[in-house]
C-alpha cells in the first residue's frame, strides 16, 4: 500500500520535474546562458590569469578557491563526526564487537597489493602534483593514497597497519588540508592583501605555482588520512 502510494506520488513528481527540465535551455547548445556567461570567461581567460592549463583546476584553486576551502572543511567535519560517533563510548547493546570476524586475506591478494603499492604511490603523487596541467589534483590523488592505505590495512596485520598513520602527529595531520589551505590563503592576504591571492605577473609565477602545489599536497595528504582513518574507525580500530 505504502509502496503504491509512493509510486503514484513519485510519478506525479517526475511529471513535474520533466515538464520543468524540458523548458531548460537546450542541452549541448553553445548558446545557453550557462555556457556563455561565467563559464565562457573562464575558458577565455583562465589559462592566462591563473597559469594553469587545466581550467577545472584553475576554477577549483583560483576563481572558486574559497569553495574548495569549504570543501576540505567538509571532509574534516565528516572525519570529526565519525570519530565523535564511533569512539569514546562503551557499547551497551546486544552486538558485541567480538563478532567482527578476522579472515586473513589470501596469498594472491597480499602479493598483488604489495607489488602494486609502490606504483600506486608514485601514480598518486604524480596526479597530485600535476593537477594544474592534466586532469587530476589533490582530491583525486588523495583518494588513490587513501585507497592504498585501505588496501594495505586489509592485507597487513593489525600491528603493522596501525603504523600506516603517524600516531603522534595524527591530530594535526588529519586536519592538514584546511590548515595548509588557510595558511597559503593567509600568506596571500599578508603579502598581497587578499585572502587566497596568487600573484599573477610573470616574475612571480613560480612562487604562485609553489603555493598551488602546497595546497594540492595538503589536500592530497589530508584527504588520504581522512579516508584511511574513517575506514579504520569503522572497522573498530583506532
Amino acid at each position: 500500500m505504502k509502496r503504491a502510494l509512493t509510486l503514484v506520488l513519485l510519478v506525479a513528481l517526475a511529471a513535474v520535474l520533466l515538464n520543468a527540465v524540458a523548458d531548460l535551455p537546450p542541452h549541448g547548445s553553445p548558446d545557453t546562458p550557462a555556457y556563455t556567461h561565467v563559464g565562457a570567461y573562464y575558458l577565455e581567460n583562465g589559462s592566462e590569469e591563473t597559469g594553469s592549463e587545466n581550467i577545472v583546476t584553475s576554477i577549483i584553486l583560483n576563481y572558486r578557491g574559497f569553495d574548495t576551502n569549504g570543501e576540505v572543511t567538509v571532509i574534516v567535519t565528516a572525519l570529526m563526526a565519525v570519530i565523535a560517533v564511533l569512539t569514546g563510548v562503551q557499547d551497551t547493546g546486544t552486538q558485541p564487537d567480538a563478532e567482527v570476524i578476522h579472515v586473513a586475506p589470501s596469498v594472491v591478494v597480499r602479493f598483488i597489493v604489495r607489488v602494486l603499492a609502490p606504483f600506486i604511490l608514485v601514480f598518486a603523487v604524480y596526479v597530485i602534483l600535476n593537477g594544474h596541467v592534466t586532469p587530476g589534483g589533490g582530491f583525486q590523488g588523495g583518494t588513490m593514497l587513501g585507497a592504498l592505505a585501505i588496501a594495505l590495512t586489509l592485507v597487513l596485520g593489525e600491528r603493522e597497519s596501525s603504523r600506516l598513520l603517524p600516531q603522534r602527529s595524527l591530530r594535526v595531520i588529519q586536519v592538514i588540508a584546511p590548515l595548509t589551505f588557510v595558511a597559503v590563503g593567509l600568506a596571500g592576504l599578508f603579502i598581497w592583501g587578499d585572502y587566497l591571492f596568487f600573484p599573477r605577473d610573470e616574475k612571480l609565477r613560480g612562487f604562485a605555482e609553489a603555493m598551488l602545489v602546497l595546497i594540492e599536497a595538503g589536500i592530497g595528504i589530508g584527504g588520504a588520512v581522512v579516508f584511511a582513518r574513517v575506514f579504520r574507525l569503522m572497522g573498530g580500530r583506532q
Partner: protein, 117 residues
Amino acid sequence: MIDLLWDNLDYAASMVLFCIGLYAVITRNNLIKKFMGLNIMETAIFAFIVALGVVDGGNAPIMGEGAAKPFINPLPQALILTGIVVAVSTTALALSLVIRIWRQCGTIEADELREAE
C-alpha cells in the same frame, strides 16, 4: 513537449534517476538501502549539473598544445567535484551512525528499530 524532452534527454534521465532514488529512500526498510537511495539521488543531481556544462562536440577544458575549441564548460565539473566530496562525507557519517545503531540494537531495519524504541 516530448520533442523538447528528447532534446534534453540528459536532464530527463537524471530527473527519472532522482525519483528512483527517492523511491528507495521512502520505501526501503533497511537503513543502508535507504541511504543508498539517497546516494542515487545525489548522483542524479550531480549528473544533471554536469550535463549543464556539455557542449556538442566539446573537448576537455585543458589548454596547451593541441587543444581545440569548443571546450566543455568547466564550471559545473568544478562544482560537482566539490559536490562529490560532500556526498562522500555525508555517506561516511551515515554509515558510522548505522554501525552504532547495529551495535546498540542489533538491527538496522527501520520497523524493528521503531518497535525497539
